[in-house]
Symmetry: none
Subunit: 404 residues, 2 copies
């Protein structure tokens, strides 16, 4: 892997008993929401503001200037894995998101139910956004009628609405399989075994399965076909525990984030969702683990819903919860997000993300409230997200000197 | 070498008569020392503060976020050689540190005297920290009794206490030699010719020498064996003078820093130690040289000793000495450090390092005293250390335009 900085950090890592807690407030960063201000600036958060004034602040760039990260890359950066080097296939992320117990030999793909017209062209890429129940019913029909290819197990799993996951399990499967989703209407689904994928046995197997599915669903009014994309295998990456000589734990209430943790073999020890529970479980996990990744989802949810007031409220909930985590005395505590989710955009964005780090050996406190503007002047500066965990490790005495 | 920025700078370099002085106050950077403040902030330094207010300030990152540099990497960065690309072996640095006249065909290693128990296991990796006299006596015993391998000269040199240097000189020697230091007690020294080093003739020669040494020292009460690590050859790097079209000189009172200068073929013209002498000698060297590297050690020493008051005093000594250097009118004068050495850590650290650059063509003066907090807001910004010398060269008119 072309990741010289990450490899260097890994080569310098040493174990000690000090505790690092990475508390991710999903989608924390913001723009000014058409002049109203960022949620972090508008929130009444006396505990977080005091923490910022007495400690270090800064900004992280999740992937690169102008790049909007998905949840996978956003979190990989926070874990110190360069997201442009450690790319996870869409299929693997989808499988992790539904907590499918993916094995190294599996090939996974993201599926959309779609509606084909009489000419076999895609009329609706989301099959009229069918509900979860219809999704489950149609998948059951496929499962009942599909003839399994020799030596290959086939799993279909509902994600939500028109979204599902396909997993093939067998020996010597590969992920040289073309997307069948044409990403457009009025054209036919693509052949998964088209060049340059025509030499792949797996692509031929997928082709056979999709042809069967088309026959099985022919009389469905809406979901009469599937489109597949992001065929991918579980990557063989350095385990987080080995890379950093940390004993990690994940505290995360949502499947996607547990999935990203599992990708790095970080065990999930609790599944809280509220700010109070996230902080309480993170504090508990600190007893046995030298690194705790704690994930809080609701800031992102409010952002995606375009709900600025809601995002502010979620930050205020975290402000009220944080003393319980501080009471457990982490040696280094990082509060940040995996990306920005401005309510005025109702989506992930490319904006840098505010950071607050409580740690020993700082250059005094930054002396200001915690928000996107003040963070520009903080002692951490503006750094790539992948450098944040190494910085925390340095403050925790977990990195040896480089060279003599 | 994968160093595109450095190679580009080199390709743009042109010679002129302007003088650049790089004054390194070793270990200058600091953290807040448990709330007391940084040494630079606490020091009374009217000359340096005025210089900062009227000129440019900023911060440099020696190697990378969170990475604590040794003296070698710290200085290579200041000389514009990316320290993650230009890695110096431990043995070479040790040999340079004792001013051994290393040749390109030599292989050098750092040695520790150790104490082996009756089972041949390491009982003390530092042989009870024997003194320099015992070190010299035991090395003399080895020299007197060792049978030299055919065609190879063997040099042993005292460094200090339990530390020494081994140099092998001969044709076609390589550095594919394993460390024999197991970095632990209760285990036997390692075989230098173990895989993947078993094909190396040099590793076999080292093995034979170490077996002889064990017999020669068998009756010693404390230093009854040596441990070797960091076997390395003098690297074949671009000479500083060629890379930048500068006529360089080094003014450095301590062996390690003269050694780093020699690594880049920068001649050492004076060996002062006090602030006054460093500034006086640097001013003198400017007459004949377009680039002067001047090294002041005592700021680092005070930091390593945990002596905040001492570190402050050393900075104040430099403040008093600096007018003599300014009187020689360097076109560009850089004051900075090779890394941070906070007294509260008593060791090198990962913190960024304050910079002060007096030069023509600035964007006015930064208007503030010189310290770690103010430097965050300086016009240089926070940049990798390796970019500082190119910036100075630009201000000195020593870099051509890139492209038409």
């Amino acid at each position: 892997m072309q990741d010289p900085y990450g490899n260097l950090i890994s080569s310098l890592a040493i174990a000690n008993d000090r505790r690092i807690v990475l508390l991710v407030m999903d989608g924390l960063g913001d723009c000014d929401n058409d002049g109203k201000g960022t949620a972090l600036r508008l929130a009444r958060k006396p505990n977080l503001d005091r923490l910022a004034a007495e400690n270090a602040t800064g900004l992280i760039v999740p992937v690169g200037t102008g790049i909007t990260p998905g949840s996978g890359p956003g979190h990989l950066g926070l874990f110190g894995y360069d997201p442009t080097v450690y790319e996870v296939g869409r299929g693997v992320l989808s499988a992790l998101g539904v907590e499918f117990p993916l094995e190294d030999r599996d090939v996974a793909a993201r599926l959309n139910f779609c509606t084909l017209d009489r000419q076999g062209k895609v009329a609706d890429r989301r099959a009229g956004r069918i509900g979860d129940d219809e999704n489950r019913r149609v998948l059951e029909k496929i499962r009942a009628q599909l003839k399994k290819p020799a030596g290959v197990e086939v799993f279909f799993q509902t994600e939500a609405e028109h979204r599902a996951v396909l997993v093939l399990r067998g020996e010597k499967l590969d992920d040289h399989v073309g997307d069948t989703d044409p990403q457009a209407t009025g054209v036919a689904p693509l052949d998964p075994a088209r060049p340059p994928h025509d030499a792949s046995r797996t692509a031929q197997i997928v082709k056979g399965i999709f042809e069967q599915v088309r026959r099985i669903l022919a009389d469905e009014p809406r979901a009469n076909m599937i489109l597949g994309r992001g065929f991918a295998k579980h990557p063989d990456w350095p385990r987080f525990a080995d890379r950093y000589k940390l004993n990690p734990a994940a505290v995360a209430g949502y499947p996607m984030y547990r999935g990203v943790a599992r990708l790095l073999k970080i065990p999930v020890v609790a599944q809280p969702t509220t700010a109070a529970d996230v902080c309480a479980e993170a504090a508990k996990a600190m007893k046995e683990h030298t690194f705790v990744f704690a994930h809080f989802k609701y800031t992102d949810k409010a952002g995606e819903d375009g709900d600025l007031a809601g995002k502010i409220r979620r930050i205020e909930e975290m402000d009220a919860a944080i003393p319980a985590l501080l009471a457990a005395k982490p040696d280094v505590l990082i509060l940040t997000g995996d990306h920005s989710t401005p309510p005025s955009l109702k989506a992930h964005s490319w904006h840098s993300v505010p950071v607050l780090m409580k740690a020993p050996y700082l250059r005094g406190g930054d002396g200001r409230d915690w928000d996107e503007v003040n963070c520009r002047f903080g002692q951490i500066g503006t750094i790539p997200a992948k450098e944040l965990l190494p910085l925390a490790m340095a403050h925790a005495g977990k990195l040896e000197k480089f060279g003599a």
